[in-house]
């Protein structure tokens, strides 16, 4: 057929003697087109995206949770499932001596009752602190800092839980810590003023040498009436002996 039908003349004859033209097979249906001749593999063709080609990730949506178009290596392994029940989660071992326990009392409770909070002594007063060294006062200040941090943590937790009463007890204890801090500053200020006064006196005193080297004599009595008091005050005697030597 394919050899005969391309002949238009035969086709014309067939329309005259046989079936009508529109029923005849298309003359181009069976015509042999030359195959494309190429030795390169189709997979080696250049992978450039054509202008109106669909996007390679078309249809992939994180919002609609479609998943990827092609399987990936990770598909062999199941996804981890979150444990929504807090009781089924693995327990965390907390060190008993962890530093953050400093924000809680020794019973390690999140919130102490108002009775427990109200059970405390009294703030330090200035009279007691006047006799303490700077190291003692400094340690006491930091203890007050820790106590106030603890109370702030408990006050926040009490508010969050809407636990009920107990605000006044926390405030009272915080006030005691602040009064202690105030007393510490009071004692230190007094000490500083005393030092300043002593220094001012020493500057005006001709017996005192403020620029003396450490370890050398800074006080030299020059008045005779002090020499008369020597037998009564062994300290002065020692000073005069060393000055004589």
């Amino acid at each position: 057929m394919s050899r005969i039908l391309p002949n238009t003349r035969l086709g014309y004859l067939a329309s005259r003697n046989g079936p009508p033209v529109f029923l005849a097979p298309s003359p181009f249906l069976y015509c042999q087109t030359p195959a494309s001749f190429s030795t390169s593999s189709p997979v080696a063709q250049r992978r450039t995206r054509r202008k109106h080609a669909p996007h390679p990730n078309r249809g992939v949506s994180a919002l609609r949770r479609t998943g990827l178009r092609n399987p990936v290596e990770m598909d062999k392994y199941p996804l981890p499932v979150p444990v929504l029940d807090p009781e089924k989660r693995s327990k965390v071992a907390v060190d008993k001596k962890h530093g953050l326990w400093g924000f809680f009392r020794s019973d390690k409770k999140a919130l102490n009752t108002p009775e427990e909070t109200a059970a405390f002594g009294r703030p330090w007063v200035v009279e007691e602190l006047r006799h303490k060294s700077w190291e003692d006062l400094h340690s006491l200040w930091w203890i007050c800092c820790k106590e106030r941090n603890l109370l702030a943590t408990q006050a926040y937790e009490r508010d969050r839980l809407k636990a009920g009463f107990g605000e006044a007890e926390i405030l009272e204890r915080n006030r005691a810590a602040r009064q202690t801090q105030k007393a510490i500053k009071h004692a230190l200020t007094e000490r500083y003023y005393a030092f300043e006064d002593a220094r001012r006196v020493a500057v005006a005193d001709p017996e005192v040498d403020l620029e003396a080297e450490p370890g050398t004599q800074a006080y030299t009595p020059i008045y005779s009436d002090e020499a008369a008091l020597e037998p009564q005050y062994p300290v002065n005697q020692r000073a005069s002996n060393s000055s004589a030597a």
């Binding site: 962890h98 953050l100 999140a110 009752t113 108002p114 009920g164 801090q181």
Partner: protein, 200 residues
């Protein structure tokens, strides 16, 4: 010279912690840290409410020297407060006199994975705090404030129902009206059964 010690196998993730070299000398700090409950954070993270002037280095130094906590890294976040009308505690709060309360600063520290910390559980029994009593007190106060407010006179009255019943009884003639002072004697004491009669 002693022989060098043989090297031992260390952990896979070495301790990244380096002690802070505090150069800022603060002798008498006067602020508070608040440890916050963060149930959704990993156990080696802790969050604090800090003053606005505190920076990351300060926090690391403070926690190491005061609490012995090793801090690997710090994140900070300043939360702006909502704008409100007039200052809190103003006698007559003026509208459109805008006021923004002070912002709050939160800092999250990362501790080594080997030293996790969990905030202790909250109490379940609030009897020592008298929670129910406080709730009732707050409820009563709110009710009273509402009654004293601008819309207070339009609120339904609590004794409205009984007043209506008494009025209906009077209108139907079931009860005879008598003046209220007749229920009291001259000394101001109730005379007989007060509740039986209809009051003023």
């Amino acid at each position: 010279m002693p022989a060098p010690k043989p090297s031992t196998l260390g952990p896979l993730q070495p301790n990244r912690f380096r002690p802070p070299r505090g150069q800022k000398r603060v002798y008498l700090p006067n602020f508070t840290l608040t440890l916050l409950r963060t149930p959704f954070a990993p156990p080696n993270y802790a969050t604090f409410l800090t003053p606005l002037h505190l920076n990351k280095l300060d926090l690391k130094d403070y926690l190491y020297n005061l609490y012995g906590v090793q801090v690997l890294s710090v994140r900070s976040y300043v939360q702006q407060a909502r704008v409100r009308q007039d200052k809190p505690g103003a006698r007559l709060p003026k509208p459109r006199r805008w006021y923004r309360p002070r912002a709050s600063k939160k800092m999250t520290i990362e501790m080594p994975a080997t030293s996790p910390f969990l905030y202790p559980d909250a109490p379940t029994d609030f009897t020592p705090w008298d929670k129910e009593m406080q709730e009732r007190a707050l409820e009563a106060r709110e009710k009273e404030q509402k009654a004293m407010g601008a819309e207070g006179s339009r609120l339904p009255k609590e004794d409205g129902k009984t007043l209506r019943e008494q009025a209906e009884e009077l209108l139907k003639g079931k009860k005879a009206w008598r003046p209220g002072w007749t229920d009291w004697d001259l000394g101001g004491r109730p005379k007989g059964e007060v509740g039986a009669g209809v009051g003023m």
